[in-house]
Symmetry: C2
Subunit: 416 residues, 2 copies
């Protein structure tokens, strides 16, 4: 991905909380994806603390290697934030109050939060006088756009939805205009049920025959592998990448979930919407994880009716009508029980499809017959009720994630 | 946090997927937290692609500034992984097959995966001859420990549970032995329902009176703010930090959830276990998010009986016995409906406590009377059934997270 001569960027995230493990940095991945879509490559991502020397050194170093530096964090209202004074000195400006930013702060406290305005909140409207101010429609801290030695530096707040608003509304359009970048082309497909190394083995010849400007990337995640073809110089021939993408699809056909850059839950949502059908879920071992994957998507109430998280056997019996004898005879983790659960939740909710999970997620609870990582998944429609089982070998968190994805894939294959 | 003279480390993560936004880097936060607990400070975190020059430059640069460099990623079986040959050259070694690593690869493929062993899998057992090999109990790629110019470089696979196993079993014990580090002392408390800037205002005087070696950090996350006191030189006086922590607790008492470094769901789990009581949840707008927060914790089946995710009104009526008239008269998002939901799930599951959520998460569905971000939360026990409401102002994802935390806090306050 790094061999081309496109515009390159560094992402710098500032905040002690990133260095003590308090916060997982989700901003960087989002920004990287956002820049990548318009053909700007990320060269490095650097996280540093609220530390004057570390910030200064990083700005200087990265300015030697890239044309764009995006900075998030360090603009909050607490006293340990030193980023704004530093930026002011680094770019040789003086702090002045920006009227637009001030109006915004006053509006948020007076009309939205309905809280008294503190001195430190007012200070958020101060900006260096040599930057272009980016107004913050979702919060109090404005963004700042600087240029120095032909490098662009943009400073944004670390709050994800505030940063995203500024990126979408101002920064991405401004970068497109500034650099007149020619976006790289991507073609992405999603596979499930096959490991990265087996895919790589299957694709050795394909990969070696790719032209210089087309690259194949393996992007494994939770029991799925995303395969992404990138054309670094798309103007050469607009059809080239489609031809190779066609070959790639035929090589991995039996494992392909979709020939698009979608998540498993997006694929399910699309199929349900297109067929005008509905889903309900009975979750034992996944404990609500599948439901929240689905309901994170806006508009999911159109096809998702709900779920029963049946952690106790009583919930399986009373809410899902799983016969007591089934649980007693075969156990809570059995193909018989998940089939009854899938059918039970389908009938309870009046959904077209019922999906159910039950398994041993660990760290405790394993047995010789049903070890940790043993999972049953059930599917029920008006036409049929069937089940399957898996054996994972990971820790609790990952076993839950893998079960969720495998269950959704089982649904996808059976919903018709 | 960066003013002391403790051992400092850099975390380097390698992989193109980190630069195109495919993967959120959760490893770094975990490693940072793990090192921080034994008194090693993280100075920088750097993410770079599978790019020879970028990796080489980063190893050289960081080696100038810290004593420990932890590296994850770049050791997978696909052909674009160049990290191992680079490390071999950087440290001046030659690749040799390690017998322990080879035995491990053969065992995993033969006995666990039951798949044929590929040439590229065998290559995973090759390591530079000048490193200490760290065996991988959870996967095929071994870790490597190098020392050069009094700097320690440790390379680990990027798969989270493999990396964590190596850190816990080998690297942390080895670093403790090597540096004889004196862990810094932390005292952490959790607050909810108050913003960072209001807390900072309350604590201005307290913070200014702290001695040089005691630092206060604000760690905001999902409607909660964690306050962490750190004693950088704990031997000076063992009781000093406890005295200041006592004062801090009294200053934020009304907003304090717990005077310990626990998550909200851990606090709830502890209270349920200690009082030998059980919980069931009825989730509408949170769509399973609360349930999966609870069930991610091992042992949660002891106190969590299950939940009903009632996305459709039918699920509210049939599974939770919410009267049709209540929904028609007051709406699905109303204090009346959440109270009926909380009571319904409590009775269905025979739990001691029922908790329920209903709200408008966005981006669609808002009205003048019930705008996006309007949320009702209900609680029910044998003694009482009550409710409250909130108005959030964020995007869907964050509204769900904030609702979950606010609901759990409402439970905590009412469960007695």
């Amino acid at each position: 991905m790094n061999v081309n001569n496109h515009i390159q960027a560094t992402i710098i995230t500032i905040g002690d909380e990133l260095l003590i493990g308090q916060t997982i940095d989700t901003n960087s991945a989002w920004m990287a994806s956002s820049l990548n879509k318009i053909g700007i490559n990320i060269k490095r991502r650097v996280a540093i603390g609220d530390d004057w020397d570390a910030i200064w050194r990083t700005l200087e170093d990265e300015g030697q290697h890239v044309q764009i530096i995006l900075i998030t964090g360090g603009l909050g209202p607490t006293s340990d934030d030193i980023t704004k004074p530093l930026l002011c000195k680094f770019f040789g400006g003086a702090l002045v109050t920006n009227q637009g930013a001030l109006d915004n702060v006053v509006d948020i406290f007076t009309n939205k939060l309905k809280r008294p305005l503190l001195e430190r909140n007012l200070k958020q409207a101060e900006v260096p006088d040599n930057c272009t101010v980016i107004q913050n429609k979702r919060g109090t801290a404005p963004g700042m756009w600087f240029e120095k030695n032909e490098v662009i530096y943009v400073s944004m707040p670390g709050v994800p939805h505030e940063m995203k608003g500024m990126m979408d509304d101002f920064i991405i359009p401004a970068l497109l205009k500034k650099f007149n970048v020619r976006p790289v082309e991507h073609r992405t497909l999603l596979t499930a049920g096959i490991g990265e190394s087996f895919l790589a083995e299957k694709l050795t010849d394909f990969e070696s025959e790719l032209p210089e400007n087309i690259k194949l990337a393996y992007l494994p995640n939770y029991g799925m592998v995303r395969l992404r073809l990138t054309n670094l110089h798309p103007t050469n021939n607009a059809n080239v990448i489609d031809e190779y993408f066609h070959i790639l699809q035929s090589k991995v056909q039996e494992f392909m979930v979709v020939n698009d850059d979608l998540t498993m839950q997006e694929v399910i949502a699309k199929k349900l919407l297109e067929s005008n059908t509905t889903l309900a879920v009975a979750e034992s071992c996944t404990g609500g994880y599948i439901s929240q994957l689905i309901t994170q998507m806006a508009g999911s109430s159109q096809y998702f009716l709900g779920s029963v998280v049946s952690y106790s056997n009583e919930m399986k019996q009373y809410a899902l009508q799983v016969p007591n004898e089934t649980i007693n005879q075969f156990g809570a983790v059995s193909t018989q029980t998940v089939e009854a659960m899938a059918e039970g939740v389908r009938k309870l909710s009046k959904a077209d499809f019922g999906l159910a999970t039950s398994g041993v997620m660990g760290p405790g609870g394993g047995s010789e017959e049903k070890p940790i990582g043993f999972v049953c998944v059930g599917f029920s429609s008006k036409q049929k009720t069937i089940s399957t089982s898996f054996q994972f070998r990971f820790d609790r968190r990952r076993n839950i994630e893998l079960t969720a994805i495998s269950a959704l894939d089982f649904l996808r294959k059976n919903m018709g």
